[in-house]
Symmetry: C2
Subunit: 95 residues, 2 copies
């Protein structure tokens, strides 16, 4: 997935890259004038999404407000075609 | 840490054990008559805490309501005595 595909409008999807990549992506969106950024992750990347939010809030954007936090589950098929499910998180950040 | 130490009153701290252990711990607390359970985790266990919440909500307690979700950071010293920080999550579940 390219950097562009993981970042549509105000959505940042956190995956396996260094935390700072996603922090910078969020700052870039805020700097474009957008007031709300959504940070989303699935499965084992959920912890990293929280790291991104915490680093933004504590280090880079101290007036950042954490809005709704939505937990959910995505059903999908794994590589062998079996039904499986994975937890998701979406955090709304407001400047 | 023993099972008792990780579960004080209405608090379930999610660590490295199987997800079902924590799911059962939450159900046990609800069954004792307590209306609110707090599910807490740090660092890489945050994803597992979301798995616990989602399994409870989707499979075992379909009328469960997710209340506040608090993200935070714990500062602590690592095994070499260096200051480090770790992200935390706490999810309030209401029966």
């Amino acid at each position: 997935m390219t950097e562009n595909a993981s970042q549509m409008n105000n959505l940042v999807v956190v995956g396996g890259k260094p935390t700072m990549n996603y922090v910078v992506a969020c700052i870039t969106i805020f700097n474009s004038g957008i007031q709300t950024v959504r940070v989303r992750a699935r499965g084992g990347h959920i912890s990293e999404a929280v790291d991104v939010v915490e680093m933004l809030r504590r280090v880079f954007l101290k007036d950042l407000k954490i809005g709704d936090i939505i937990l959910g589950t995505d059903d999908h098929k794994d590589s062998r075609g079996r039904e499986t499910s994975v937890s998701t998180i979406e955090v709304f950040l407001n400047k």
